[in-house]
Amino acid sequence: MLEITNLHVSVADKPILKGLTLSVPAGEVHAVMGPNGAGKSTLAHVLGGKPGYEVTAGSVTFRGEDLLALEPHERAARGLFLGFQYPVEIPGVSNVQFLREALNAQRKARGEEPLSGGEFLKLAREKAALLKMDMEMLKRQVNVGFSGGEKKRAEMVQMGILDPAFAVLDETDSGLDIDALRIVGAGINAIMRSADKAVLLITHYQRLLDVVAPDKVSVLADGRIVETGGPELALRLEAEGYDAVLA
């Protein structure tokens, strides 16, 4: 589903990703772990199409299409979801308005009929309940006044509503307490565990992986994938640390 081949990315002329190759087929949850500064967030941002990330070599193919040739909103319409490490606050725009605009823009791009206000609210209520989020919060401004944990839960509600084929989740576990971590993990499973979907789960810690059992784990260090294994690799990293495993 997602094929990353020899990807080189620079930020302000500084090389961050240095020949990253990674393949995530449909049906797979693939965790990417790595020490600070390895390039994890750069990987997420470049997949989402954030401005300022220059691809100097390599390719990314998503469902057979050149992902890097697409604008961010086109990537979303093709079924790619980027879960932000730091979700952005948008004063003056409500979650409901934002998500209905987003969903209907995606549906339009795919040649589908837009959802009516009533249909959208029904869907939003269902997904908010899945993440144990009060519907009243979705009527508030996007992420304004939300705690760190609420922002991450709101990201997962967004993912539930938009129902992507592929999710890139950038440290969705950071800022979550133990209960919120379970809720978010269960949300990821409920929304994304499917034979025709896949997840790239970027994380520092084992704890989210206890809930969202990954099929594969890769280690990203100094801009490359240096090791790929099964879930046991994450346990080894947690027990021994990056230095020991990478030595």
């Binding site: 989402g48 199409g49 954030k50 401005p51 604008e71 961010p72 909103h73 990537r75 979303a76 319409a77 980027l82 932000f84 979700p87 952005v88 606050e89 948008i90 004063p91 003056g92 725009v93 308005q97 934002f98 998500l99 605009e101 987003a102 969903l103 823009a105 995606q106 791009a109 967004q158 938009l162």
Partner: protein, 256 residues
Amino acid sequence: MAEAATLPTRRDEAWRYADIDAIARLGAEALAQWQALDVPAGTSLTRCLVVGADAPEVQRWRVRLEDSARAGFFIVNRGGDYTRVELEVHLARGAHFEFGGVTIGGANEQGGVTREFVTTVIHAEPEASSNQVVRAVHWGGASGNFLGQIKVARHAQKTDAAQDFKGLLLEAGASANAVPQLEIFADDVKCAHGATVGALDEAARFYMMARGIAPATAQRLLVQAFIGDAFVALADEAERARLLDAALGVLEGAGL
């Protein structure tokens, strides 16, 4: 009411950012026209205006609020040429004046267009309040100005006056100017003013695009949220929608 038919110059403080050539085309006669409104004691008045055409325009309003009267002016200034709206407001005891203004637009064939609000709010008696919220959204070398003067008389104690200006520049070369001027002769008053000018929030725009919203729609939503502040105090939802549509229509025609 006619006044001396002389043209202002940029040396006049209230005209320092004005388009003097446009004013010359308009002529001194046009500037001598004031529209007067009296708001009787205890009553309230709301005016919602969309101002601006293809020719220069100056509107001058003189509003007198009697004891405990309330007046709200909500104005979209979207002229295709120099467009200036002046409000001179006189507040008696316990009166309240609310102003929400938006200047929005780019250039015309001659270049950047100037759109401005110039207010003089006179707290003549105690316990009156005023609140002014102005948002300026510009591109194409245009400029939006807010010259806001607040005068508090010596015995106008417990005056509560606020002014808030924000400019959003969608392209380099556009500008926004805020000139707050406070003349306060009473000692027990609250007078607040703030002004900021910035560009579109790129992080918010990327966030919206990452959720599937096209760049033009993301921009419209962000501009709508930005100018929405000016009409928060307008209770009539249909009028609020009409003003927002009038402002956003200019943006949609701009093809940014």
